[in-house]
Each structure stands twice: as structure tokens, then as C-alpha cells.
Amino acid sequence: MKSWISFLMPEDEYKEKKMLYFFSEGAILLVLFLVVMFLVNKFIDLSTGVILFAGIAVFLFYIFGRYILSGMEYTDIATEQEYKRAVRGLKSRTTSFVVLFAIFYLIYGITSNSLVNWYEFTGMVISVGVVSFLFDFISLKKSYKKNKELL
């Protein structure tokens, strides 16, 4: 089946089908959210920017959340050995990501002539690292559990 969205879809047919469901569910939630906002806006004056931003966030967070919890990201992790190796890989990937993020955040701070607040910098880097690791870890754990049951 050909569609302009095909380029966003994974090669594997099960993953493709699940992703299509997630996108559709996200789109329906977005429409419902916008209808509610439309009605609320009649009584309370809401900022258009906030509503639009919240709409995008609802759509993206829903799809991202469903993807992570579906346990289909790490399709080949089924044994304890593979799982432990994947956790090690995840730790080193997160470390590299945090280092790169810190460098770019510093460069951005310097080039935009804004003083780098070290508390803010440390807090931001740690938060980004923890959130990134946590999301990946949940996805890995879910995938491992699902794959183990399928062996």
C-alpha cells in the first residue's frame, strides 16, 4: 500500500501496523482535545499559542508514550545476556548524548552572548540525561519482557 507517510514507517510489517494505530489514535485524541479547547475557549480566554503547543504536545507525547510502552523498539533482545549487553550499550549511548548536549548547550550559551548559569547548566544536563536514559530503559525493559515471552 502506497502513501506519502510510508517514509515514516518501519520496514517490519507488525511494527508498521502498530505505528499506524498509534498515529491514528493520536490524531483522534488531538481532534477531541481541540474540540474541548474550542468549547472551553467560549468561557475562558485561552492563548492561541498555548492551545496549539498543547495540541502538538498531546499528539507527540501520546505516540511516543505508546511506542515506548509497546515494547517493540528492541526487537532482538530476548535473553538475559542480550539484555545486559543492551543496558551497557544504553549507558554508553546516554553518556555520549549527555556530553554532546552539554557541549552544544555551552556553545549556544557563548554564541548567543548569554551568561551561562552553572546551576541551570548542570540541572539541564542532568535532567536531559536522566529523562533520556529513563525513556530508553523503560522501552528496553518492556521489549525484553515481551520478547522473552515469545521465545
Binding site: E11, D12, E13, Y14, K15, T75, D76, N147, L150
Partner: protein, 65 residues
């Protein structure tokens, strides 16, 4: 959908990973098909049947006993 994919695959000593690679899907998808938790497309059914050297009937047709 109940099927005989796992039984026949194991008879050929092929792993889920090997079958998955040959038919162009992930190991997870093969596992889900074997457990009857995912109904594959006809295209994938045919690919699996060819790799296991069986007919679609052998793999996917339910026979009441």
C-alpha cells in the same frame, strides 16, 4: 490465529532469528505469529511457507481434531 509455524520451524532446526532474517521481519514478529498474537499479511505467510518448504495449509490451516 492458531498455526503450526513454531512446530514446523523447530523441526527444520531453524531459529526465530534466522527465519526472521530470511523473510525480512524482526524476531519479535515471528514470535508473535507463532504465538498467534499477530496475523501476518498473505505476502508474509507465503514468504514463511517458502522458507519452511511447506504449503500455506500446512502452516496456517486449522484442522479440527
Amino acid at each position: 490465529m492458531k498455526n503450526n509455524v513454531k512446530k514446523i520451524r523447530m523441526k527444520t532446526s531453524m531459529t526465530q532469528q534466522q527465519l526472521a532474517k530470511k523473510v525480512g521481519v524482526t524476531r519479535q514478529t515471528i514470535g508473535l505469529i507463532e504465538k498467534g498474537e499477530y496475523n501476518p499479511t498473505l505476502q508474509l505467510c507465503v514468504a514463511i511457507a517458502k522458507e519452511l518448504d511447506k504449503t500455506l495449509d500446512d502452516l496456517f490451516w486449522e484442522v479440527e481434531e
